[in-house]
């Protein structure tokens, strides 16, 4: 049966199980939008208010559901507006397929209206990309795009489709892609390496686990928990590993990295065995590499061979999907408790509690703190909410203080640090998990980068809860200016609009909290709401996030104030 390329694209999406896409129409993608109109009962298209919002929504959807997020845009500016979200998905390993329209094949390279070389532009930030210029290529390339996006270490794929290929007809036959001969997504587990790992773990006196998003992407949460409990190993997480293990688990010792917890950072340099699971030793995690865990042997469980020995040399690499490798490891692990070693973490926690946490959660000063707002969200939602955070001080506070009982619950822009991520990502997260409470925690700076996506929330009545922690500053930059640039606040003071009125303009229920006495009631009202809800909390203007490892310093030199 002959169908148009545009219709073929819809059939490909349906065959891949896609029922929701985010996008923005325009000239070069109009044939596909015409088919979307015809197929609207099977495939929902959500009109973002800017293409960047479409990518972040697709990312939020992918991160909460584990499925591939799909974003669509036209050629030229539509395509270039996707780039930030694609780069974000690349560095945070998020499965996403972006489809862009392109000028007709005969106009390629002629500087036609809305022509841009999106394949060239997106090459460094995609896992794979391809330009389709013939309708007959569509089924095979689309199948390959989804396979590559979701397999192995996931990532974004961009498929650019010239307009003639959307109009032309093809004989449509769809076969799912099951392999690409030049691409090996998951290394086979090496049993020898796993046996060596078990020996190293069994003989370690002070073993320490740092896990990352590889546990979530590999769905290895149960295996991680089993390992931690059987071997009695304290486990810390990177920002993207958060929620892979219950926050309240007695062996969960907190966050590593620049604004992580005190014990996990300091004790990185006291363990005798560092077991890294599905993490990539980002510079925000390690601080100075010259002084990072030099005393310890390092085992690196990792799916991507290019990550091994990239930043931190591994004494042993265990390649493969974390679920598979940990499954093979578990029977070889001896029961252990490591009581004294674990007590070290408790002692260091007490130090951080006294110096930082106590005053953050129960402040003696008048102004509201970010942590007390987050704590209130924890209580009101029963630790069950998906927390979507943006980038900056509020993000570090959200990750430090939010409590989780369920995996895939912390969604944030970790690697790229994209301000403006949270609002659209929260829309995608809610639509990917309608049964769950989704709370976006955003700073006043990042909120204004994608604030127009309130239009999506209003139009589709997406019941997300939006909390803006307003300190009238670009807080994290201001903090660095205070600490490292002698308080010269260059362009970090914000004169903000009336956020409540803006939300009201979109007919979203809204409330502002200025006094501590209003906080509990306001957060409870927000969580109880069945509709979208906007809450602005005026917080202390010049608070800092501590602990902090100054850029380039050692994890041992983490500052408590």
């Amino acid at each position: 049966m002959k169908i148009s390329g545009a219709e073929a694209i819809i059939h490909c999406l349906l065959a891949e199980g896609v029922d929701l896409i985010y996008g923005y129409p325009g000239g070069a993608i109009m044939p596909v939008y015409d088919e979307l109109y015809k197929f609207q009962d099977k495939l929902t298209h959500i009109l973002a208010r800017h293409e960047q919002g479409a990518t972040h929504a697709a990312q939020g959807y992918a991160r909460v559901s584990g499925k591939v997020g799909v974003a669509m845009a036209t050629s030229g500016p539509g395509a270039t507006n996707l780039v930030t979200g694609i780069a974000d998905a690349q560095i945070d390993s998020t499965p996403m397929v972006c489809i862009t329209g392109q000028v007709p094949r005969h106009l390629l390279g002629s500087d036609a209206f809305q022509e841009t070389d999106i394949v060239g532009i997106s090459t460094p930030v995609t896992k794979w990309n391809y330009q389709i210029t013939k309708a007959s290529e569509i089924p095979e390339i689309m199948a390959k795009a989804f396979y590559i996006a979701r397999s192995g270490r996931p990532g974004p794929v961009l498929v650019d489709i010239t307009k003639n290929a959307q109009f032309d007809e093809l004989d449509f036959v769809y076969e799912k892609c099951t392999g690409v001969r030049s691409y090996k997504p998951v290394p086979k587990p090496d049993v020898k390496a796993i046996e060596t790992a078990a020996d190293m773990i069994n003989s370690a006196k002070k073993p320490y686990i740092v896990f990352g998003q590889g546990v979530i992407l590999g769905e290895a949460e149960a295996q991680l928990k089993a390992l931690v409990e059987k071997a009695g190993i304290p486990a810390a997480w990177t920002i993207l590993g958060l929620s892979a293990m219950d926050t309240d688990h007695p062996l969960n010792v907190g966050m590593v990295g620049m604004h992580g917890n005190y014990a996990p950072n300091v004790l990185t340099n006291e363990c005798d065995l560092l077991i890294a699971i599905g993490m990539r030793f980002d510079d925000r995690v390690t601080g100075s590499l010259d002084t990072y865990a030099k005393q310890a042997k390092v085992i690196h469980f990792e799916i991507d061979p290019a990550e091994v020995n990239k930043n931190v040399p591994a004494d042993l690499a265990v390649l493969g999907n974390a679920k598979e490798t940990l499954k093979l490891l578990l029977p070889l692990i001896n029961d252990n408790e490591h009581k004294e070693w674990r007590a070290e973490f408790d002692k260091k926690y007490e130090i951080e509690y006294e110096a930082v946490i106590k005053n953050s959660l129960k402040p003696t000063k008048e102004g509201l703190t970010m942590p007390e707002v987050i704590e209130q969200i924890n209580l009101a939602s029963g630790h069950k909410a998906v927390i979507v955070s943006d980038v900056g001080q509020h993000q570090m506070m959200a990750c430090r203080y939010a409590k989780f009982k369920q995996t895939k619950s912390n969604i944030t822009s970790g690697g790229l640090g994209t301000m403006g991520f949270a609002l659209p990502a929260a829309i995608g997260a809610k639509m990917g998990a309608m049964e769950r409470e989704v709370v976006a925690i955003i700073g006043d700076g990042g909120y204004q980068m994608t604030i127009q996506e309130l239009g999506v929330i209003f139009q589709h009545n997406v019941p997300v809860k939006i909390v803006v922690l307003n300190n009238e500053h670009l807080g994290m930059v201001r903090q660095w200016q205070e600490l490292f640039f002698e308080s010269r606040y260059a362009s970090t003071v914000m004169t903000n609009p009336d956020f409540v009125k803006i939300a009201e303009g979109y007919h979203i229920k809204s409330r502002r909290v200025v006094e501590r006495s209003e906080l509990v009631d306001a957060v409870n009202e927000m969580i109880a709401s069945k509709d979208p809800y906007f809450l602005e909390v005026r917080v202390e203007k010049e608070d800092n996030v501590f602990p902090m490892i100054p850029s380039g310093a050692s994890v041992s030199d983490i500052r408590l104030k």
């Binding site: 460094p124 391809y130 330009q131 061979p305 290019a306």
Partner: protein, 175 residues
């Protein structure tokens, strides 16, 4: 770690965007590619990139890891000069009258073991294949007489050890 010359050999699918993807890996790390050659390989339908860089082994290993990660790359290898047999080619375009006026030119042609590719009324073309220093020596010898045009190719190299690409492809077929 000391820098030295490495020859990176990349076996890949023949894809229009791959050169851009691979060169981007070097660009992103501010590494200069000393020479680059792309050709067909011993296996039908499989391309081979030969890339020469001056780097530490640690950086080379990481770069090769990043190259191998690209979807259309089958395998990438790196070798030091001793582990490969390598050559470059060069063409020299020289005014024809020099061939008769300057006796030394004929000696240079003989001693350099180069070939005359063509002789026209106004110019003749010499081709030289060899190591970089041999090409450089010939260039230096001819330069005083005037070279109308000069071009040198990227390095081409084969490794002394095997590069087992067929096995990788067969393994995939058998899956």
């Amino acid at each position: 770690m000391e820098k030295q010359w490495y020859t990176i050999s990349v076996y890949s699918e023949n894809n229009v965007g791959l050169l851009n993807r691979i060169s981007g890996i070097f660009l992103k790390r501010h590494i200069n590619i000393e020479s680059l050659n792309v050709s067909k390989s011993e296996i039908e339908g499989i391309s081979k990139f030969t890339i020469v860089v001056f780097m530490t082994e640690d950086s080379t290993r990481k770069i090769v890891g990043q190259i191998e990660k690209q979807i259309e790359v089958i395998r990438a290898f790196y070798h030091v000069d001793d582990e490969t047999i390598y050559q470059e080619s060069a063409l020299f375009k020289i005014a024809s009258d020099l061939l008769f006026d300057e006796r030394q030119i004929q000696n240079i042609i003989k001693e350099s073991n180069s070939q005359i590719v063509t002789v026209a009324r106004d110019f003749f073309v010499l081709a030289k294949t060899g190591r970089r220093h041999e090409v450089d020596e010939m260039h230096d010898a001819l330069e005083p007489y005037g070279i109308m045009q000069f071009v040198r190719s990227g390095r081409i190299a084969v490794s002394k050890a095997r590069m087992p690409i067929t096995e990788i492809l067969e393994e995939f077929q058998n899956q």
